[in-house]
């Protein structure tokens, strides 16, 4: 399959894992990512229905200075937000089954644009999404608890995660 698989077997990068105990914590993690995000960033989200993908995206939006709620784009596939420090393109591939359908969507303007792209259900389009990205896998541990694994592909995203780690440590002190 595509670059997502490659990332996960990349031995050099040990995935950073963060456990979230509530939707509010997931949102806070997203907020830090949003604060760290730069123009052109691509964040790919993978995980089952109800794992917290939209919740994490709401946090990213907040971190970008967008105060509107980022509702799920499953129905419309893409929602754009322009009121933050960078444009946010919230993309959702939930309803698509074949990678050709993803390729037909014409997402390149978003993915290679000047905003921040968050792609939910990215595993459905792995081979047509940018090779450099930050992949976040969300796992359901218990009704409220989620495990988030961060897998960066490209130095830009490794740096981003390093900063995220520093921010997290700062929280604990």
């Amino acid at each position: 399959m595509g670059p997502l698989q490659v990332t996960r077997t990349d031995k050099k990068v040990k995935p950073l894992q963060i456990v979230s105990n509530s939707p509010e914590q997931t949102r806070k993690i997203g907020m830090k990512l949003g604060e760290l995000a730069a123009s052109g960033d691509v964040i790919l989200l993978v995980g089952p229905l109800g794992a917290g993908k939209t919740c994490l995206t709401q946090g990213i939006a907040r971190g970008l200075g967008i105060h509107e709620y980022t509702a799920s784009p499953s129905f419309v596939l893409v929602r754009e937000y322009h009121q933050g420090k960078l444009p946010l393109y919230h993309i959702d591939l939930y309803r698509l089954d074949r990678v050709e359908e993803v390729a037909q969507l014409g997402l390149d303007d978003y993915l290679y644009g000047d905003g921040v792209c968050v792609v939910e259900w990215a595993d459905k389009g792995s081979s047509v999404l940018p090779e450099e990205h930050l992949l976040i896998e969300l796992q359901v541990v218990s009704p409220l608890k989620r495990k988030l694994s961060f897998m960066p592909k490209g130095t830009r995203y490794m740096k981003m995660l390093w900063k995220l780690k520093v921010m997290k440590q700062g929280d604990k002190k």
Binding site: L49, G50, C55, Y69, R95, E101
Partner: protein, 343 residues
């Protein structure tokens, strides 16, 4: 009624914001002369929802015959029309463009005024096509696959948003739950049909978001999906009693939240009426529960006018026209248009 002559006003409405290509002719904003809808549901059902590229290509194929049929059914010629109203947002950009460009071309060729209509506002105006005339101030709940919005109407075009969904739209939650339960697409009608006569017994979480008129449906969606996993559902076999119970309990929970919050908002603002609108307003349980629980009159368009149609666009266009809201030929689509932000 300034600037408009007294003769009958017939308006052609065009709607292509999502997966229905629709055209209609409405007289004086209240009388439907024709209402033609070409649905793409069949086409999209294999995708479990709408695929934009497929939708816009289909609109291109359908729009000319649909508009021709709307005029023929209404027995009107272009010269009998007073204006052309078209949905310019919100919706899928590629789909909206087909309708807007077609309407512009017609307006130019037939020398008619062009009126841009907000799709969500049009859904509310479907209530003007029913037997009872709505009264201001009113609260409207617009529920569909892409939207869940609670708005206050203080007059024609005077709309302010009170609340909306913070995550999944109600209709979207229906679609996702139906898919997780192996019931199919579109979720709303399928769950309604499958759960007829079934008494819901499952306790599911309801998100009330106290102190706010906002909604949230992702929590209940997640709860149902987790329970569905335990039931080990396959879409090839007939749904079990446990699956139908879960679907019915889900529907009950969503309806409870929609009705309770809408009635509370209506009480708080002391409005005259509640106006239901949007595709999910076709749901019987929602219609019955809202009517039963509301202390004030509830207006609900007939199901055919709840789902996307062009009669509501023509009707909304009529009232905009009366208020002199006419567009130039530079009208552009606004895919992210929200309520209360219309021109």
């Amino acid at each position: 009624m300034t600037g408009v002559d007294d003769r009958e006003m017939k308006i052609l409405g065009i709607e292509t914001s999502c997966d229905e290509t629709a055209a209609a002719v409405v007289k004086d904003g209240t009388e439907i002369l024709s209402n033609v809808i070409s649905s793409q549901v069949e086409l999209h059902s294999r995708y479990g929802g709408i695929v934009p590229e497929v939708a816009s290509r289909q609109h291109l194929l359908s729009i000319t015959p649909i508009v021709q049929k709307a005029l023929a059914d209404a027995k009107v010629r272009p010269g009998d029309l007073s204006a052309i109203a078209v949905t310019y947002g919100p919706g899928l950009a590629g789909s909206l463009l087909v309708g807007v460009n077609f309407a512009k071309a017609l307006a130019l060729a037939w020398e008619l005024p062009l009126i841009g209509v907000n799709h969500l506002e049009a859904h509310i105006y479907a209530n003007w096509l029913g037997p009872d005339e709505p009264e201001f101030p009113a609260i409207s709940l617009i529920v569909s696959g892409g939207h869940t919005e609670l708005v206050l109407l203080q007059g024609h075009g005077i709309i302010s948003r009170l609340g909306r969904t913070r995550d999944d739209a109600a209709g979207e939650a229906f679609d996702k739950v139906a898919r997780a339960l192996g019931l199919g697409y579109p979720g709303g009608p399928i769950i309604e049909k499958a759960t007829q006569g079934i008494t819901p017994t499952r306790r599911l979480p309801r998100a009330w978001i106290k102190g706010s008129d906002d909604f949230s449906f992702s929590g209940i969606k997640t709860a149902v999906v987790r329970l569905a996993e335990e039931l080990k559902i396959s879409s090839s076999t007939k749904p079990s009693q446990a699956v139908l119970d879960l679907a019915a309990s889900f529907q009950q929970a969503v309806v409870d939240v929609l009705v309770t919050k809408t009635v509370a908002a209506a009480n708080k603002r002391g409005v005259e009426q509640i106006l239901l609108a949007g595709g999910v307003a076709a749901n019987k349980l929602l219609r019955q529960t809202m009517v039963r629980n509301s202390p004030i009159p509830v207006l609900i368009p007939p199901p055919i006018l709840c789902t996307d149609n062009a009669a509501m666009v023509a009707c909304c266009g009529y009232f905009r026209f009366l208020h002199g809201k006419i567009e130039n030929c530079d009208l552009d689509v606004v895919p992210g248009l929200s309520l209360g932000s219309s021109k």
